[in-house]
């Protein structure tokens, strides 16, 4: 998505400060030398003083706008930004959104959640589960083409055989 064009000495430090991941195919060029700007790309020319602002800009580019999902539990109804959910799961015809240490009943269908959050790196891993890639801590492949996802809250979510390839592709994107 991004390419950082700065001189070699500064490259590593700036990359870290901007929390930037570069890729071969990119749409955005970040540089502190306007001569390095590329005509057919979106160019962000910055200087050292604006690094924080650039970081925020990058967050916005990558993460996009916040999407809020409305759910309820025993404490009442609440609107939660989607990326706080670890995963969504169907239990007894109800869709639950799992948060760090609580869960909420979500009043929309699972396929709607999948559709809503597919650009926010949520992915369906089984008939009943849509998972937030950003909240996976570790992937444990099982022997039978299944995967166990260890979530950052300690839960384990299984990637079914039918969703294995799709999940793998999603990681590569």
């Amino acid at each position: 998505m991004f390419k950082l064009k700065v001189n070699r000495e500064e490259h590593k430090e700036l990359k870290e400060r901007l929390n930037l991941t570069e890729s071969m195919i990119y749409d955005y060029v970040l540089t502190n030398d306007k001569l390095e700007a590329e005509d057919d790309k979106v160019n962000i020319v910055f200087n050292q003083a604006h690094l924080e602002k650039v970081t925020k800009l990058l967050d916005l580019i990558v993460k996009g706008e916040d999407i809020y999902v409305i759910g309820h539990n025993q404490f009442g109804q609440k609107s939660v930004e989607a990326r706080n959910f670890y995963y969504f799961s169907v239990k007894e015809d109800l869709v639950f959104g799992i948060l760090n240490n609580t869960e909420m009943i979500i009043d929309i269908k699972m396929y709607e959640i999948e559709e809503l959050l597919k650009n926010k790196d949520f992915i369906r891993v089984s008939k009943n589960t849509v998972v937030n890639i950003g909240k996976i801590d570790y992937i444990k492949p099982a022997l039978n083409s299944k995967l166990d996802l260890l979530m950052k809250n300690g839960d384990v979510v299984e990637v079914n055989r039918g969703y294995y390839k799709v999940f793998k592709e999603a990681l590569k994107l």
Partner: protein, 674 residues
């Protein structure tokens, strides 16, 4: 690959571990890849990607993968070197080709290599059983009876006649006779045959030919061999002209009803047996088979069967002693007769000399050759520079055997009495060379088979070689001979400096010495005419060694040859045919005399009994003969006693007489095959 083929169990385990490792390694790689992708993806998502779980997990998986590999490597290593620390001087093997290369190497270096043809064996024999069984369980035998004249107390040697004070078990021409001999109510009067087991099937392949017996409170052990007899008609192929032995058999009978409890079949030719409590030690030799002048090592590897279940010897349990002729496998078997378990040690090389078994160790002597370097290239006439006697030491504990080490001495041993273990040290008497070059040695080894000392000065005059030796505590008694019989007393108290402290010269020589008391040594051998240097008769002597520095002959008796004849006693070369009873005050042994006249000869065979008086010496008590003026040659080959009675065994009869009056036979029964 050959090692794996020889160890299918290990090969199978290796295969499983290999498959397991492949799966585990691919799993680890897959896992690492997935989490790498995840990390990269989350970085792209500008999310904190610190993984809290991964590192330990990969280490754990790697450990699981590595553990079976480590175990299998250790297992293979232990199998290849099962001895742990192999005693120095020995080489171990891990494949057939490594054994074959030792054989080829020896053949290329040496100008001598002996073949002995042997055959492989298959099935067990059937023994024909005659006579009805009669149980005599209510009567009791005597607790005073003769036992086999063993070299070492507690280490039983086989014999062809054994008794337990009630029954006598007799081997005679492939026939085992169980004789009810004595009870405290009727003494000898009820003597009769209980059972006969016939092993005579000369031309039957794999038939057992019994050679010896052991007895204890629970069982009767019959040991034997199998051989192809001369002249057996093998219909299609004409006659077999082979008399070589190729197998060893051990039949274990329950003493209560003489049912066959266990049968052991060992592939080699027996070298010797010993029985210690419930354990039987057997030493056998499998000579290399050969085909078209090529040595067939594979076909000669020892194997054994327990009740028809076969067991093979693994290559890696075979060791080789550098310098010995690799023309055979010598196998030491430790057999627990109670549980039917077998332990083995196998040495590549022929143990064709003498076997001595002490209370804890087995010693077997062999020849060891040294070669002139490059002799085969330089084409020397003889490439063997020196021959020594190697002594393999194998320890035993119960039936567990272990190769302990090897020692080397100059010259050759004479018999099992050339060796003696005392306080962990082995003492061994040898003679090197013969006639002009004869030289005698007495060597002492420590428990690690390291030489402590060698005595070779003053032991025998010029041209004299070893005729007999015996050891009694810290003293050795050695007889050498060329013209006279020097009887040497050697003090071994200081093992580093053995000293000859006494010497006695008398005509003739003893071929067997047996200490009777601290002061008296019995010698049996031959008298010699000093002018002609020819033997003139059998001679029995008592040496008084109460003053070790001044041994004297206290008594001597002779069976002189007649003018045209000679005398013979098996006791001169088989100590088990000599009956010695201090409590009854007798010694007795079989003897045979031949007297020739112009057209015939007279044959007399009997058991001669002497009074053994530790003060007055030896005097003739009587002679037992089973049949006078017989047409057949009735050969008395054993005398034993139970209580007050002397039982004499010949190839036809068992006779019983009073020890006090041996000449008068009280009862005699025919023990020939019924």
């Amino acid at each position: 690959m050959e090692f794996l083929l020889n160890n299918p169990g290990i090969a199978f385990m290796l295969l499983i571990v290999f498959a397991f490792s492949i799966i585990m390694i691919s799993k680890i790689i897959n896992e690492i890849n997935f989490n790498k992708l995840l990390k990269f993806k989350q970085k792209q998502m500008r999310i904190n990607t610190q993984v809290t779980y991964g590192g330990g997990r990969v280490a754990f998986l790697s450990l699981i993968t590595a553990t079976p590999i480590i175990i299998i490597v250790l297992l293979v290593n232990m199998t290849i070197n099962p001895m742990g620390d192999l005693p120095s001087g020995y080489k171990s093997f891990n494949s057939l080709s490594s054994i074959e290369s030792v054989v080829d190497d020896f053949k290329s270096k040496s100008d001598i290599y002996y073949f002995t043809r042997t055959f492989s064996t298959d099935d067990f024999l059937d023994s024909e059983i005659f006579s009805n069984e009669v149980a005599y369980t209510t009567t009791v035998g005597s607790s005073d009876y003769s036992t086999v004249n063993n070299q070492v107390i507690g280490v039983a040697e086989m014999d062809n006649v054994v008794t337990n004070g009630k029954y006598i078990y007799i081997l005679n021409n492939n026939l085992l006779t169980i004789l009810y001999a004595y009870d405290t109510v009727n003494d000898y009067e009820d003597m009769h045959i209980i059972k006969q087991i016939d092993y005579s099937s000369e031309c039957e392949v794999d038939a057992m030919h019994p050679v010896g017996l052991f007895i204890d409170d629970e069982r009767l052990v019959v040991v034997g061999n199998t051989y192809t007899a001369y002249g057996c008609d093998n219909s299609d192929e004409g006659f077999w002209f082979n008399g070589s032995s190729y197998g060893t058999f051990i039949d274990v009978y329950e003493l209560e009803d003489y049912t066959l409890e266990d049968q052991y079949k060992l592939s080699g030719v027996y070298k010797g047996f010993r029985k210690i409590g419930d354990n039987l030690i057997a030493v056998t030799t499998d000579y290399m088979e050969y085909e078209n002048s090529e040595v067939d090592v594979l076909g000669s590897i020892p194997n054994y069967k327990i009740n028809n279940y076969s067991f093979d010897i693994k290559y890696n349990s075979i060791v080789y002693l550098e310098g010995t002729m690799p023309n055979a496998f010598t196998t030491f078997y430790g057999i627990n007769l109670e549980y039917g378990s077998v332990d083995t040690e196998v040495i590549l090389g022929d143990g064709r000399n003498n076997l001595y078994v002490s209370e804890n160790n087995i010693y077997l002597t062999s020849y060891s050759y040294s070669f002139v370097p490059f002799a085969d290239i330089l084409n020397f006439e003889s490439n063997t520079s020196n021959t020594k006697t190697s002594i393999n030491k194998v320890s035993y504990s119960g039936n567990n055997l272990s190769v302990e080490g090897v020692g080397y001495v100059e010259g050759n041993t004479l018999d099992q009495f050339s060796m003696s273990e005392y306080e962990g040290n082995l003492r061994i008497a040898t003679t090197k060379g013969f006639r002009e070059t004869a030289q005698n040695y007495l060597t002492i080894f420590d428990s690690n088979m390291e030489v402590i000392s060698v005595l070779n000065e003053g032991l025998g005059e010029e041209r004299e070689s070893l005729k007999s030796s015996t050891f009694f505590g810290n003293y050795a008694f050695v007889v050498t001979f060329e013209q006279t019989d020097p009887f040497y007393v050697i003090d071994l108290n200081d093992v580093e400096n053995p000293v000859i402290i006494g010497e006695l010269k008398i005509p003739g020589f003893s071929t067997y010495l047996q200490p009777l008391t601290d002061d008296i040594i019995l010698g049996i051998g031959f008298n010699v005419d000093e002018s002609t240097n020819r033997t003139t008769g059998i001679k029995v002597q008592l040496y008084d060694v109460s003053d070790m520095t001044l041994p004297v002959v206290m008594s001597s008796v002779e069976i002189l040859y007649s003018d045209y004849g000679y005398s013979y006693s098996s006791a001169t070369n088989n100590h088990k045919d000599l009956l010695v009873s201090l409590s009854n005050g007798i010694i007795a042994f079989p003897f045979t005399t031949y007297t020739y006249n112009s057209d015939n000869y007279t044959y007399i065979s009997g058991l001669i009994v002497y009074n053994l008086d530790l003060i007055n010496g030896l005097s003739e008590k009587g002679v037992v003969v089973h049949e006078t003026n017989s047409i057949d040659d009735i050969y008395i080959y054993k005398g034993i006693y139970i209580d007050d009675y002397l039982y004499t065994i010949s190839n036809k009869y068992v006779g019983v007489s009073l020890i006090e009056n041996p000449d008068e036979i009280l009862k005699i029964i025919d023990i020939q095959k019924k």
